[in-house]
């Protein structure tokens, strides 16, 4: 079995299983810890609408807050968007999704994907440098933070190298890219990458709790 066969076969199988088991385990186990009923009288009964509104609104902070976090805010959302474009709309990726999900969708030109991947990578590196140098982030960051960012950076790097055919024979580059994504899958449930799932219930609850008190969150 070549490295590429391993990466596309057993490594994919087990990393996906670990990803799915782990995410479901951690998500359900976190949100189901229980909540006491709030016996105070709410100002209004629009909990679901307030919760959903905050899910969207929290991405657009008020000016007083936004002016303090401009760089992180802009860089953060931009790299996420760029990564999603590169992951979801690259032709080889769509072929991969098709093989797992059973369906695909139209792709974007390779040049655009390369540019978005490069943007995501550059911003991630910039934010990593910030994390290492800004006093607040340096103080509050732990191993999880560093592992999580590096484990996202590596697939971007290996993907760019594989797509541009730089650094080794193509089958090796592709195998390494597969394996780097599989490493991300395996890490995903155990680190802070879980925020992808958990930020939604968190924002919802913030919206609902402040909403019942008549405050826009």
């Amino acid at each position: 079995m070549t490295l590429l066969d391993f990466a596309r076969g057993p490594a994919l199988q087990w990393s996906l299983i670990i990803l799915v088991v782990g995410v479901m385990w951690r998500f359900t186990g976190t949100i189901l810890l229980g909540r006491k009923e709030d016996l105070s009288k709410p100002r209004r009964n629009t909990e679901i609408r307030d919760g959903l509104a905050t899910i969207f609104r929290r991405s657009l902070p008020e000016h007083q807050f936004e002016k303090k976090i401009r760089f992180q805010h802009a860089a953060g959302y931009t790299w996420h968007l760029a990564l999603f474009i590169a992951v979801l709309f690259s032709a080889p990726h769509i072929l991969f999704f098709e093989s797992v999900l059973g369906f695909g969708w139209p792709h974007l030109p390779n040049g655009i994907i390369l540019v978005t991947a490069a943007i995501a990578l550059a911003l991630l590196l910039a934010l990593l440098i910030r994390r290492l140098s800004h006093p607040v982030q340096r103080l509050i960051s732990n191993a999880d933070d560093y592992i999580s960012v590096v484990i996202v950076i590596i697939p971007l790097v290996t993907g760019i190298l594989a797509s541009a055919h730089i650094g080794a024979r193509y089958e090796t580059l592709l195998a390494i890219h597969f394996l780097s994504v599989e490493a991300l899958f395996v890490w995903f449930p155990f680190g802070k990458l879980m925020h992808t799932a958990l930020t939604f219930p968190a924002r919802f609850r913030a919206g609902a709790e402040f909403g019942r008190r008549g405050v826009k969150a």
Binding site: G29, P61, G76, R205
Partner: protein, 444 residues
């Protein structure tokens, strides 16, 4: 409108001695940890679990915190303030605790002691960080749990502990009991202001607070004037008039429950349909949102802040106000626990505008306002004075930028804290009470 400067000086003097002879509970390190963990175990719930897990350590919460802004000291980053709680959750209640335990340090007595400063001196529970967090984490409830854990472990700062013990044992705060209340009420009566004390039945139960009785009796008198002008069926109970809740402020839940229960009992006794909280942020929060949950049953009455009540009466046309004396410009300081935490944001503004004052918003207002920096009884903690003074500079700058003649607020503790900051910083702009302004503008 004027406060007794002598009284203010005396009050500040008494603060100097607060807590100096409070017996501290000497607990062993293990016992401290055990008790704190007990509290953490009890208080952690699903939403907190989600919040603790979804934090991505971006540090934006620091950019919302006035203590960090004032000092640029990273140790004040809000997310750090509940770090021991996070570790406890991961080790004891998180779904993958068996996998995480070997990698996560346990909570120690040293942690608890080191966190006292972060959680009491450097946090007022203002909730500004709650609004900032891009993940939707609510940090102030988590920091409150930290306080409750530290309180269980006997680690409340001495001054705050002194007040909490006083309320627990005597049901008084700053020594203000039924006796002092009666004194003030008699004084008001001599000025022609009737305060119906201890009526057996009343529709409305009015509360006051020690700081009003000692320093801002004009606010109490103003409240009485307004209630009388409305011909309301109201009373104050000498057995349950104290709105301040030192249990909430210190983290001692038993005291929090006790203080709330006392008020509810009196309301039930006189059959009040409405309980009105005086000018205080935390007191409103303690009754309006936490009261029912502390007592385990829905409150049998409506809870209103005095500014809320006044706005409602204005809307109904029952409170005619004269705008004659109010040509000055005003800006409003939102008490955090009344505004951001409780939704009483528009009403004070509505009232000030109805007074005919030229209203000017500070840059950060409403749900984004900056905390006064020490209102929630933090101003009693002596060692936090330099930190509070630095935080005050933020408020001063914002107030100055409005160019307003007067700063009005609706919280006695915010008012004291701002006055302390103004006095220390040589700042001249008067800091006034909303209720007093309203009463002064009542038409005959």
């Amino acid at each position: 409108m004027n406060i007794d400067n002598a009284a203010f000086r005396d009050f500040r003097e008494s603060l100097e001695h607060l807590g100096s002879d409070t017996p501290s509970e000497i607990l062993s390190g293990e016992e401290q940890v055990r008790r704190a963990k007990q509290t953490f175990m009890d208080k952690l719930d699903g939403p907190m679990a989600v919040d603790l897990t979804t934090c991505v350590h971006c540090g934006m919460c620091a950019e919302a915190c006035h203590y960090y802004e004032a000092t640029q000291d990273e140790k004040y980053a809000p997310v750090r303030k509940f770090e021991p709680l996070r570790r406890f959750y991961r080790r004891e209640l998180s779904p993958m605790r068996w996998l995480f335990r070997p990698f996560i340090r346990d909570v120690t007595a040293q942690d608890l002691e080191a966190w006292q400063e972060l959680v009491y001196d450097a946090c007022t529970g203002c909730g500004r960080c709650d609004m900032m967090c891009p993940m939707g984490v609510r940090l102030s409830p988590l920091i409150n749990v930290m306080r409750q854990g530290l309180a269980s472990a006997g680690l409340v700062p001495a001054e705050l502990r002194a007040l909490q013990i006083e309320q627990r044992d005597n049901d008084t705060v700053f020594g203000v009991g039924a006796g002092k209340l009666r004194e003030v009420i008699d004084r008001l009566k001599q000025q022609g202001i009737e305060v119906p004390l201890d009526k057996s039945r009343a529709e409305v139960l009015i509360l006051t607070t020690a700081v009003e009785v000692l320093l801002f009796s004009a606010a109490l008198s103003a409240t009485a004037k307004i209630m009388n002008r409305l011909d309301a069926d109201w009373t104050i109970s000498s057995q349950g008039f104290e709105a301040a809740n030192l249990g909430l402020l210190s983290g001692d839940e038993a005291t929090q429950r006790q203080a709330a229960a006392r008020i509810v009992e009196q309301a039930k006794t006189c059959g009040a349909k409405t309980v009105i909280l005086p000018e205080s942020g935390h007191a409103y929060q303690a009754m309006r949102w936490e009261g029912a949950n502390e007592l385990g049953e829905a409150l049998p009455f409506e809870v209103l802040a005095i500014s809320e009540f006044i706005a409602r009466e204005l809307d109904a046309g029952r409170l005619p106000l004269s705008t004659a004396t109010n040509g000055s410009s005003v800006t409003y300081h939102d008490p955090c626990r009344l505004g951001r935490h409780s939704g009483v944001i528009e009403q004070p503004r509505q009232v000030l505008k109805a007074l005919g004052m030229e209203f000017r918003e500070a840059d950060s207002n409403g749900r984004e306002n900056y905390c006064c920096g020490g209102g929630c009884a933090e101003y009693v903690i002596k060692r936090s004075a330099p930190l509070r003074q630095k935080a005050f500079e933020i408020k001063k700058r914002e107030f100055d930028e409005t160019g307003a003649d007067v700063v009005v607020t609706s919280c006695a503790n915010c008012r004291i804290n701002l006055m302390i900051g103004a006095e220390n910083g040589g700042w001249q702009t008067p800091i006034e009470s909303l209720v007093e302004r309203v009463a002064a503008s009542l038409t005959e």
